[in-house]
């Protein structure tokens, strides 16, 4: 048992930081989280991911046969930490790397792998995730967007919601229902669809998190070649479940929370508040909770590094992270007061971006249910 980084892990982090400081200059002065890549800054992101790809740092966690280096889980988490702490300059491409690519490796045909993986590993393509629906949120498997086979095509009708990253996305990883009579997990099929396919309409949902955080995607008689089906018909659920195993603590939110706290402490010092016992106590409590969340997230990474799967370690780690983000957000408002309300400012960003913590990627309460059932072995409610 040990809790330190190796020499090569430290060197890797240092090299990444150098690279980021060079490519994303000035971020340390205003580390506002770039929530969503707009159509306008897509080129900037592509430029960054192409350079990352050239350094071998876009898909290093992938196996060598798909252009990766089979990077260790610990190096992957270092990469994630460094990216997330600067506001995720890879935009939605982090999803490509973390689970969309791996899902294609796992379930795709040879032709699909040749077609979809190289653009991802070159940093050229933007995906979004078509999962949630108005009637399928936490109960995702009850999704209803219908795909009906018609010759060598599927015809898709339905609606997705809370879809992030649509402004930059070119492709959607869409979950559809192909067998409405089967038990709900057994009738789901994955389709990979270009977003400019006729019949797809995207409406942005005005939100309080940050401009363009999520959208609705309407699909009306969208015709998709059967060649774009990932995995077998009606077997999509198991692919998604496996692929998302790696995404459960995908975003290194603890690293950003830690960085934000450092910034808050600097600001507190600048206005003479750091010596205030109440402020000092709250900063210290928040840091303690953030660091505990980090150690719990690392317990998930440790299992990943040892290829231990099917455990429930990620659920408490996620709950801990939500608590940490909320404590940090409270500090911004309580300590800095109305200054934190100024739109687009660093302080404003903290509270508003924390709002998604307990919802995105599976709600806080679902994690509690899973802990109660799978970890504590409590009887079904």
């Amino acid at each position: 048992m040990e809790f330190g980084w190796t020499e090569s892990e430290r060197a890797y982090r240092a090299a990444l930081r150098d690279f980021i400081d060079h490519e994303v200059p000035g971020w340390r002065d205003t580390p506002v989280h770039r929530r969503v890549v707009t159509a306008e800054d897509k080129d900037r992101v592509k430029d960054f991911t192409a350079k990352l790809a050239a350094r071998g740092w876009l898909t290093p966690s992938w196996p060598p046969e798909y252009g990766g280096e089979g990077q260790s889980a610990w190096q992957s988490v270092i990469l994630s930490e460094e990216m997330w702490s600067v506001g995720e300059p890879r935009g939605s491409q982090y999803m490509n790397v973390n689970w969309i690519g791996p899902a294609i490796m796992m379930a795709g045909t040879e032709e699909q792998k040749q077609r979809f993986l190289p653009p991802i590993s070159r940093g050229e393509v933007f995906w979004c995730q078509g999962f949630s629906e108005p009637e399928a949120g936490s109960d995702l498997a009850s999704l209803r967007t219908r795909a009906v086979r018609d010759g060598d095509q599927y015809v898709v009708n339905g609606q997705k919601i809370w879809t992030s990253h649509t402004p930059s996305a070119e492709w959607i990883f869409l979950l559809t229902r192909t067998d409405p009579d089967a038990p709900k997990n057994h009738g789901i099929t994955i389709l990979l669809i270009p977003l400019d396919t006729p019949g797809i309409e995207i409406r942005r949902i005005p939100d309080i998190v940050g401009e363009g955080a999520f959208a609705e995607v309407f699909l009306t008689d969208v015709r998709v070649p059967a060649a774009n089906r990932l995995g077998e018909e009606n077997r999509g659920w198991s692919v998604v479940r496996q692929a998302l195993q790696y995404e459960r603590v995908g975003a290194a939110r603890w690293e950003r929370a830690s960085l934000v706290l450092d910034q808050l402490a600097d600001r507190a010092r600048a206005c003479g508040l750091l010596s205030d016992p109440d402020v000092a106590r709250r900063l210290g409590e928040a840091r303690a909770v953030v660091e505990a969340a980090r150690w719990m997230a690392y317990s998930v990474v440790d299992e990943r590094a040892k290829q231990i799967s099917g455990t429930a370690t990620a659920y408490p780690a996620r709950v801990a992270m939500v608590r940490a983000e909320r404590l940090v957000a409270d500090l911004a408002l309580d300590v800095f007061g109305a200054e934190a309300l100024i739109g687009e400012s660093f302080l404003d960003d903290i509270y508003r971006s924390s709002l998604t913590a307990g919802v995105a990627g599976g709600t806080y309460e679902i994690q509690l249910n899973l802990i109660a059932g799978q970890v504590l072995g409590l009887p079904r409610s």
């Binding site: 000092a280 900063l283 408490p316 970890v375």
Partner: protein, 302 residues
């Protein structure tokens, strides 16, 4: 990073577990109430479990693991002070019975009665009271641990040793709380699985499940924060672990009683053996506020 115990660590934990299964536990704790377990102390000492911190083959992490297990098994011995804090402050093997005190936080001191050695945190320094100048005055307490008010005057001064003592004290108390709260939670989960009301187990009610799950998250966090701090050995990690662990007591201990109902307020039911001790440990070194402010001081040089 590696979250798996090494074979040696595994063997140590198993050995101390089996010793504690024989010589500690609920029955023993109930019998001793606020007494000290001389017999167990002798067993732990003879087996070498209290000499791991300065053992070149082991270290502070191993000592913290023993502290965690001992707390879970309700050892009425100051395992953290004797096995982790004192050897690292003194750089030598301390006498059998050790207590830790702080001039900034006066009041009753755990395990001070009959202590052979009291380490006093005195600002930047440590004073070594070996033996203490006079008898400690026993204090009645319902917190299931021996308390007394010692005479803290005099002693040999170790200039500049204060931060070292504070650091390992924090690691020790975090490790102890990891064990105490874990055992309290385990007991509560088992109780709610079998306690039926309205024709079904209370543990099947989602409102209660969520609170147990919340408690689990706190407890799991202490475990890793304490172990990481023991391994890293730096002041900031130690303060963070202690702050988190004491916050966890505040959040979890009352909930465990609340979820178990009136039975948990009786001496007959064992929950209090862990939770009351946890509350006692929570008060050490100034508690949550002092640990949290220490984090801020150390992290941001405030």
């Amino acid at each position: 990073m590696d979250y798996t115990l090494t074979a040696d660590q595994q063997a140590t934990v198993q050995a101390v577990e089996s010793l504690l299964a024989r010589h500690a536990g609920r029955e023993r704790a109930r019998k001793l109430r606020d007494g000290h377990d001389d017999e167990l102390l002798a067993q732990l000492t003879d087996a070498g479990f209290l000499d791991l911190a300065t053992d070149p083959e082991a270290g502070p992490l191993e000592a913290a693991l023993v502290t965690e297990v001992a707390a879970r098994r309700l050892a009425a011995v100051n395992v953290g002070a004797r096995g982790l804090v004192a050897p690292l402050v003194l750089g030598r093997t301390p006498p059998a019975k050790v207590a830790l005190a702080s001039t900034a936080h006066p009041g009753p001191v755990r395990f001070a009665r009959d202590a052979h050695l009291v380490l006093v945190l005195d600002g930047p320094d440590v004073r070594v009271l070996e033996p203490p100048p006079g008898p400690a005055r026993p204090v009645p307490t319902g917190y299931v641990a021996p308390y007394a008010v010692p005479d803290l005057t005099g002693g040999q001064r170790l200039p500049g040793a204060g931060p070292v003592m504070a650091r390992w004290w924090r690691v020790a108390l975090a490790a102890e709380l990891a064990g105490l709260l874990r055992a309290g939670l385990d007991l509560t989960v088992e109780y709610l699985k079998q306690r039926e009301q309205f024709g079904r187990p209370l543990g099947s009610l989602q409102a209660l499940q969520h609170r147990l799950a919340e408690a689990y998250v706190w407890v799991e966090g202490i475990r890793w924060a304490a172990r990481a701090a023991a391994w890293q050995g730096d002041a900031e990690s130690a303060a963070a672990a202690a702050a988190y662990a004491t916050m966890a007591v505040r959040a979890v201990a009352p909930d465990l009683h609340q979820l178990s109902g009136a039975i948990s307020l009786t001496e007959e039911y064992d929950l209090h053996l862990w939770t009351m001790r946890a509350q006692a440990v929570r008060t050490e070194l100034g508690g949550i506020g002092e640990h949290a402010r220490a984090v801020t001081r150390l992290r941001w040089d405030a």
